[in-house]
């Protein structure tokens, strides 16, 4: 049984393998880019607004509200990054209703790439907000003894982010594959529906956790005791 779309090679040309992960990732990217280009090329501020524009506005404002609720003071700064993460993962997971499609998030390479994006984005946003000195000083708060723990936490939460998304999506695919051979027709469909739900929730979790990490690194120390959501590095 294939537990990753990496092993599914669609095309091979002079030793360069084009596997399903790359193809479906570019498919999702093309769908998102073309869709948003087609919608935003005909934006209007008149009284009649196309329903696609309304849908896009709902998505953007919802993501912006969620970012603001997690504790960022200016959501517009983080909206492109967090919104892209959420939209890409959510689309990649939802498209699993199409037969023959395998979610690229079910491959550890994709999720590791996304998690590394978060790993790089955290210091970038933090330095942009507090300066290099302020960011580096956050590692030795409250004492320099915490430095190794902070570094290990940084690495381990990146791995956790990658493996969580990969494990969730991959487990959905594997369970459906096992159920098809054990109890066909009905139970796989139920598990597929459950897989759609977990796919959406995982997209939300990934985006929210990225925002929590960025927010906790870029917030100043006085304001960092926000009780609503705390940085858990697990």
């Amino acid at each position: 049984m294939e537990i990753s779309p990496d092993a599914w090679v669609l095309h091979e040309w002079r030793g360069v393998q084009l596997n399903a992960t790359i193809v479906f990732t570019w498919g999702v990217m093309a769908l998102l880019a073309l869709g948003s280009w087609a919608i935003t090329s005909r934006l209007s501020t008149e009284e009649t607004v196309s329903r696609w524009q309304v849908a896009l506005e709902v998505i953007v404002t919802t993501i912006r509200d969620q970012i603001a609720e997690v504790g960022a003071d200016d959501p517009g700064r983080y909206l492109p990054f967090i919104g892209t993460l959420f939209l890409f993962i959510a689309t990649a997971n939802i498209l699993a209703v199409i037969p023959g499609y395998q979610p690229p998030t079910g491959s550890l390479s994709t999720t590791a790439a996304l998690a590394i994006c978060v790993l790089i984005a955290v210091p970038l946003f933090s330095i942009g907000k507090r300066g290099l000195r302020g960011y580096l000083r956050s590692y030795i708060q409250p004492t320099p003894l915490m430095l190794p723990f902070a570094l290990v936490g940084e690495i381990s939460r990146t791995i956790a982010l990658a493996v969580r998304l990969y494990g969730n999506v991959m487990s959905g695919t594997v369970i459906v594959g096992i159920l098809i051979s054990v109890a066909p027709f009905f139970f796989p469909v139920v598990m597929q529906v459950l897989g759609l739900l977990t796919g959406l929730i995982q997209a939300y979790i990934f985006a929210i956790l990225a925002m929590v990490y960025i927010g906790s690194a870029s917030r100043s120390r006085q304001a960092s005791d926000d009780p609503s959501i705390q940085d858990t590095g697990d």
Binding site: E69, V163, R164, M170
Partner: protein
């Protein structure tokens, strides 16, 4: 029993144990988290949005331990690195 069979037996047993033990803790923890969240929503229905959001995030966090166990079990069954090595060694032993 040759080495490959032994490795297969141990891998399957360990995979079963991994998923069995590894799902007990997260199951208890998720039930507890959900119960506490329901209690909190019953006491303060106004804060339901914040509680639900935090609940989802913490459920995903708790669930990830079970997911790690699942990934380890999958690796043990489908992509066991030691089984391949044993099979290679056995084929070399036969060939040479």
């Amino acid at each position: 029993m040759d080495a490959a069979t032994l490795i297969a037996v141990v891998s399957i047993l360990t995979a079963g144990l991994t998923i069995a033990i590894g799902s007990i803790g997260p199951a208890l923890a998720e039930g507890r988290a959900a119960a506490q969240a329901l209690q909190a929503i019953a006491q303060q229905p106004d804060a339901a949005n914040t509680i639900t959001r935090t609940l989802f995030v913490s459920l995903a966090m708790i669930e990830s331990t079970a997911i790690y166990c699942f990934v380890v079990a999958m690796i043990l069954i489908f992509a066991n690195p030691f089984a391949n090595r044993a099979i290679e060694a056995a084929s070399q032993g036969v060939g040479g």
